[in-house]
Symmetry: C2
Subunit: 438 residues, 2 copies
């Protein structure tokens, strides 16, 4: 049986998962593929660490460069992560005519365009299914299954760490800091959680998905990013009273000649399936003009779920190699000459429904001052709720707005925050609820 | 730009949707594919009916055979439905070296093995993504994305008509007959609803998915099938009190050297995402040993959602044609020589948790008679609920069992039904709830 030779760079958790699947599912994969995926060489800076699996003698070495340079390797799997050595080795592998599989969303989001053009020049394939949504086939779905659809929008829970923390606050009323500490103890959050809780990781993913959906170059720098560190148990409780859950959503919408691409905590109604996606799980909804909404759900991270997606890419590539058809599906889902830049709207220009919580002194005239400012900025309020609980002499007042312009809302909030009667900066959370009147 | 020529058989709702997408998304598809999908010829017995779209002159004819025989057609799309003429024309197309796309689940479930071997002999491809789950890419996910996984189980809501009717009974307490009548008025159920409400359509789909998941020939005849006509508002209400919703589920499990494949109304807990899939929507969960559970959700029927899946198949096939690689992915996801028969367990041999509702005369000793019979058959009860409402002198008694053998449960129910104190045949609904103790 024909063999396809694989070189693996990086044997951390996911790299080890890939090796494990290639060893343990070798016959199963061969029964499906009609060829054997052979892990010819793997590299890790610490090759001697116990990984719970046995590599054949001589397969696991310490020098990743040697793997890239080794003759006879068909596909390089990059599992090092980060944007430094990973980028360098991927580019080198591509120049040597190797096809590449990676799960590195940070790299693809930041340097994908460069890597993609290098792959095109060298007529090799670049696959990165595992970079978004772990085992969920969201990239294949966009590139292949929705090929007859204009994509109107995507909405995703794409970071398990944030979803775990928000689920924890929701279920147990803990603070963000406590929930983060639990997530760190459970291994769901890194020691430095910035990349996850500040929304960057989610932004990487929605930047990649937006490019695939709309046929535009990857544009990370214009994605609006807001993390979850400011979400309080109080806001989550109020949200629940209005029939909403708070999730860190990646939202991407095609708006004529521009795109919305934003990451922020968002209130969504209980009836929305995404609101029932809890713990570390991921899910994403895609709206196609023919398909309507479809949703994919699954483990967005972890050793074997991520490896499952990597192996799917490897088999896809192996089928291309066996039939001599690199470039069968273009990397971004559109033919390279059809990719055109579509600008991402600045967050100021979007419009949305808003949840706004003011902390105001309990004095006559306060509500009228606040609502006067909102009115002057053209923000119309659909409901006001004064909640009785006094903290430091202030009471929370919650307002849900009709659809309003973000720029106006931000200006109004700045004016309101400057009032003498406001005890703290107002809390603002965007609402995605199709059932609301505009 | 290279053209791929398509012949369409059958211009009913879905066939018209395919034509519509090919016309309206022509440039979009070409931008992704790098070639143009041209609807060269289409056939329908009634070519003159107004379909709301304009076919170029001469494209729509009345004789489907002519389309199959026309030189220069690359792909035949079969949208006639049924197992008669559709089968004949597909086999003829394959013999003439045409690739085939169909959405015909009844045909694939009943005659798929024959058609697949004919396709293999003639070295053409056969694609049928639209046959299961409409726009959801469940077949591609099984064949390609989960290729590194052993599939342990699948659970699906695969028939929109049944899901609509059950949602209606749940939301409005209507009877099955009333809900069906509404579904018929709304166009969600056929005049003769047998295929849907008796579970056959769902069985077709799970037969196809089981073959793809486990690498076994399609086996429709051994799938256990039970419809929803016996589901009462009372059982749905009791289910709700226990935290369950009733859905018509397709359940498929790999059990060592056998497979469970069954279609029946099933109680699932509110926390299960499938319990929140309402109306005409479809969803399916697949458990892979590496991926864990993934779920796909979307419109399982309808003109454009189904056409979306057909166009995805067309583009896949077009890519194969452009690169000369028919058979790139084997039809059932496994190399033909690796497909082996795995028997489906008779329903008697499965084990499950059960909801059993007895209608008994309100007399002393009745409960002990009933539970005595259950005990003699080794069925252990985890909770008993006597509900106060008397109907015709009888009261409903509801029991939830621990895990029990289906054969024992059926025997016990027959004995209980024969008791003098039982007013009607007991109602039996299987429960899928992983949180229950065995």
């Amino acid at each position: 049986m024909r063999e396809i030779n694989i070189g693996l760079l990086g044997c951390g958790t996911v790299g080890t998962g890939v090796a494990k699947l290639l060893f343990e599912q070798r016959d199963l994969i061969a029964a499906r593929l009609g060829a054997v995926l052979v892990l010819r060489r793997a590299a890790d800076l610490d090759p001697d660490r116990d990984r719970g699996i046995r590599f054949p003698d001589g397969v696991l070495i310490s020098d990743a460069r040697k793997v890239v340079e080794e003759p006879g390797i068909d596909i390089i799997v990059e599992m090092i992560g980060g944007e430094g050595i990973a980028r360098e080795l991927i580019l080198k592998a591509i120049e040597r005519g190797r096809h590449v599989v990676t799960a590195n969303k940070a790299l693809i989001a930041a340097h994908g365009n460069e890597i993609i053009s290098s792959a095109a020049e060298n007529k090799v394939d670049l696959y990165f299914e595992a970079s978004v949504g772990g085992c969920m086939p969201i990239i294949k779905t966009l590139r292949e299954s929705l090929v007859g659809n204009r994509i109107a929008a995507m909405t995703g829970i794409l970071n398990g760490t944030c979803n775990y923390i928000l689920s924890k606050i929701t279920d147990e009323g803990s603070t963000f800091a406590d929930a983060l500490a639990v997530a760190q103890r459970q291994g769901y959050a890194e020691a430095d959680p910035t990349l996850d809780v500040e929304g960057y990781d989610t932004a990487h993913k929605i930047a990649i998905l937006s490019a695939l959906a709309y046929g535009t170059p990857i544009n990370l720098k214009d994605v609006y990013i807001e993390g979850i560190a400011h979400i309080t148990p109080m806001d989550i409780e109020f949200a629940g009273q209005f029939g909403y859950r708070i999730k860190l959503l990646a939202i991407s919408k095609h708006r004529g000649d521009a795109v919305e691409a934003r990451v922020h905590p968002t209130m969504i109604p209980f009836g929305n399936l995404l609101s029932n996606v809890n713990g570390t799980l991921n899910a994403v909804t895609v709206s196609g003009d023919a398909s309507g909404d479809i949703l994919l759900y699954g483990r967005g991270a972890g050793m074997l779920p991520t490896a499952s997606a990597v192996v799917a890419d490897l088999v896809d590539l192996a089928r291309n190699i066996l039939s001599g058809t690199a470039g069968r599906v273009p990397v971004l889902g559109f033919q390279p000459d059809k990719i055109r830049a579509i600008p991402i709207m600045p967050i100021d220009q979007i419009s949305s429904h808003y949840y706004i919580r003011f902390s105001v002194l309990d004095r006559p005239g306060v509500l009228s001052a606040v609502s006067g400012i909102l009115g002057r900025h053209g923000i119309s309020i659909q409901s006001v709720h004064q909640k009785g609980r006094k903290t430091d002499g202030a009471v929370p007042v919650v307002m849900l707005s009709h659809r309003a312009r973000e720029a106006s809302v931000q200006k109004a909030l700045r004016e309101i925050a400057a009032l003498e009667v406001t005890a703290a900066r107002p809390a603002l959370i965007r609402i995605e609820d199709e059932s609301l009147e505009d």
